[in-house]
């Protein structure tokens, strides 16, 4: 396999993995505070359709991203109200949020199906201009792609190097202890959910505004659930999430390369490779991951009032 083909796979993987990485980072922040959001798929869809709609209306893709960030945050606030104020079961609330997201995103996106938008501008990777044309064309990325890894580092810093992050992790381990030490678990969880939703919003908007440049119903096609699996793979750590997202999207790009490389293997079979890989990774790393999970994940905090 040529260098160019491998660089091509890498370029495809970076393109496809960006939305997945933002979504995974968002889920990590929420789960670090003890909230598992199974509705991530719905959050991604609503932010993708909102971002697309705003881009289509204003002609400005950056406004679209901004709108998607708010849409993602607001979706997570719905989950927050259910599980923090109403003390509803997290898993059931998440699934309900997902189905709500299916419907709401379809409603928002309805008028914009088939609309032509100006996608996020692509900027050449600095220093790639000296490369041959075929290579250089693989290295044109949009701003959200360039920001993906810096954002992952920033989230790591926020969670592990700041007082606020300490509070989030403390609440995720034991809200009672965090409360005893003067934190407000409900407030911290709302903040973490808002940040997580905003990150998922960036991911959703990347999908519709930068990647596909199109809105179709249910366009995430399971991406939200892959992100939830990647959180476990990444041991709830933002930097490992970068590797996880790249591995999964790399597998997607690789199976497409195999499909069109002329080998006579059923493309039906090839297209399952990324998902089989996800299963294998989860199985291989399964039990030992448990220790890394925030202790209060998925539990209802009854509060002290």
């Amino acid at each position: 396999m040529s260098e160019l083909a491998l660089l091509g796979v890498l370029s495809s993987a970076v393109f496809a993995g960006t939305a997945l990485l933002y979504a995974t980072l968002g889920e990590i922040v929420g789960e670090r505070a003890g909230i598992i959001n199974l509705g991530l798929e719905g959050v991604l869809l609503v932010s993708a359709s909102t971002g697309f709609a705003v881009t289509s209306l204003t002609g400005n893709p950056y406004l679209g991203v901004l709108a998607a960030v708010f849409a993602g945050g607001l979706m997570n606030m719905i989950l927050g109200y259910m599980v923090l104020n109403r003390k509803a079961n997290q898993l059931a609330s998440g699934l309900a949020l997902m189905f709500f997201g299916f419907g709401l995103s379809a409603l928002i996106g309805k008028e914009f199906v088939g609309a032509k938008i100006v996608g996020l501008p692509r900027l050449a990777l600095p220093g790639s201009s000296g490369l041959p044309k075929l290579y250089a064309s693989l290295l044109h990325f949009d701003l959200l792609i360039y920001l993906a890894v810096p954002v992952a580092v920033a989230i790591w810093w926020l969670l592990f190097r700041t007082r606020w992050g300490l509070g989030v992790r403390a609440v995720g381990e034991s809200p009672e202890t965090a409360y005893a030490s003067g934190r407000n678990p409900r407030l911290v969880r709302y903040q973490a959910l808002w940040l997580g939703g905003a990150l998922a919003g960036v991911g959703g908007s990347h999908l519709s505004i930068a990647y596909a440049m199109n809105w179709t119903e249910y366009m995430t096609a399971g991406l939200g659930f892959i992100a939830i699996a990647l959180v476990i793979f990444a041991k709830w750590h933002p930097l490992y999430a970068v590797a996880g997202a790249l591995l999964f999207s790399g597998a997607v790009a690789f199976q497409l390369l195999l499909q069109s490389s002329g080998i006579q293997v059923s493309p039906f079979l090839l297209s399952t490779i990324p998902y089989v890989l996800t299963l294998v990774v989860l199985m291989a790393w399964g039990g030992r991951r448990k220790a890394a999970a925030p202790a209060s994940l998925g539990q209802i905090y009854e509060g002290t009032e």
Partner: protein, 386 residues
């Protein structure tokens, strides 16, 4: 990946098998030259006087959104032409009906509302419509692109293979890398026939041209379409085309990567590629559906296996893009003239598949009723046909 895709894949497999099984039989009368203009106008004049009550309610259903700038929009535009041409016809529409169960209940609902004719346009609508045609013998059912026939059930469609050959001629002349990228939804018989015709057209002007295929396993999965398009471009393809429902993602992606594109399904695809657009083909079945509807109204409808091509205006070519040189346009015109004159038959033997086996022998032709069950790629296509 979830059950939805598995189910779609399973369904497609099952239908593909059925397609293969049923491909040979059926009293397939291929009719060309359909829309008799005088019939249509007389009907309009006769029925225009009976304004208030609709002379016929037509129920039309689509697998996806009718604004997709692709297949569903092309079908929607064709259906709307009926009520523009015959003013007393009332149209009831339902979009986003991809599943069989949904199609059954939607059609039942339309019949309850008085529909005397059903136009079902998605692949998955065929068998629900066929079953309902037995239950409601007084309602006429027309399916787009199917192969089953019944007393009150027939099908209609454009004939894309010849036009795909013309697109191949354009692509083969425009490519610099000799690699043409084709994004396909599923490895179905008709899709493979389109790809084969495209590659044969490209080879006719550029013996080195290859068509590289990537599947998305969904008719409207934008994310997968972007993945597949990027993958093909990263492998060196510099002309991209597709057989999925909507062209927005594939053509926008090609445009953003600075490569050429060729559209299919609806002529509206051109808007997504102001620079890299070569040309495209779309379904324009408005006159055919108008004629079919007029025969339902005057009681002369008969079940015919109706296929009509670009010469009958059932398909149309989009305008060329700004960067297409005159000699390419001339070559496409020449190919079209040869096909229409009958001096060029796209699938005339000898045709050799990827493994070198002869699929169509010298002096023979691949007939239309076999094109739907093709399970091989011609030499020069890169990808798996199964």
């Amino acid at each position: 990946m979830n059950t939805r895709n598995l189910r779609t894949v399973g369904l497609a497999l099952a239908l593909a098998l059925l397609l293969a099984a049923c491909g040979g039989d059926g009293a397939a009368t291929t009719t060309t030259g359909t829309a008799d203009a005088s019939t249509v106008t007389t009907t309009t004049a006769a029925t225009a006087t009976t304004a208030a009550d609709p002379c016929l309610i037509v129920g039309a259903l689509y697998g996806g959104p009718v604004t997709d700038a692709g297949y569903n929009q092309a079908m929607h535009d064709s259906v709307m032409a009926i009520s523009e041409n015959i003013s007393c016809v009332e149209i009831i529409e339902a979009e986003n009906v991809p599943e069989e169960a949904g199609a059954t209940s939607t059609m039942e609902n339309m019949i309850q509302q008085g529909a005397g004719m059903i136009i079902a346009t998605a692949f998955n609508h065929q068998y629900p419509a066929l079953e309902l045609s037995n239950k409601y013998p007084d309602v006429i059912f027309e399916h787009a692109g199917g192969w089953e026939m019944g007393a009150n059930f027939a099908n209609f469609f454009g004939e894309p293979p010849d036009t795909w050959y013309m697109m191949g001629v354009a692509a083969g002349l425009m490519t610099e890398s000799d690699k043409l990228g084709f994004v396909a939804a599923f490895p179905l018989g008709w899709t493979l026939t389109f790809i084969n015709a495209y590659e044969l057209g490209a080879q006719s002007v550029n013996p080195d041209a290859q068509t590289v295929v990537a599947y998305t396993f969904g008719w409207g999965d934008a994310t997968k379409e972007a993945e597949a398009t990027n993958s093909l471009i990263n492998q060196g393809a510099d002309v991209i085309t597709m057989h999925v429902d909507g062209p927005a993602t594939v053509i926008s992606t090609a445009e953003s990567r600075g490569v050429y594109s060729i559209g299919f399904q609806s002529l509206a695809a051109q808007q997504f590629a102001p620079e890299g657009w070569i040309t495209g083909i779309g379904y324009t079945l408005g006159d055919t559906l108008t004629w079919l509807t007029s025969t339902v109204i005057d009681g002369t409808w008969e079940p015919i296996f109706l296929r009509c091509g670009i010469a009958d205006d059932c398909m149309a070519m989009a305008p060329y893009g700004p960067n297409v040189p005159q000699e390419v346009k001339d070559a496409v015109d020449q190919a079209r003239a040869d096909i229409e004159a009958g001096t060029k038959v796209v699938f005339a033997g000898p045709i050799v598949d990827q493994d070198g086996a002869v699929r169509v022998a010298e002096g023979e032709e691949l007939t239309a009723d076999l094109m739907g069950s093709v399970d091989w790629f011609v030499e020069g296509v890169v990808g798996s046909p199964r």
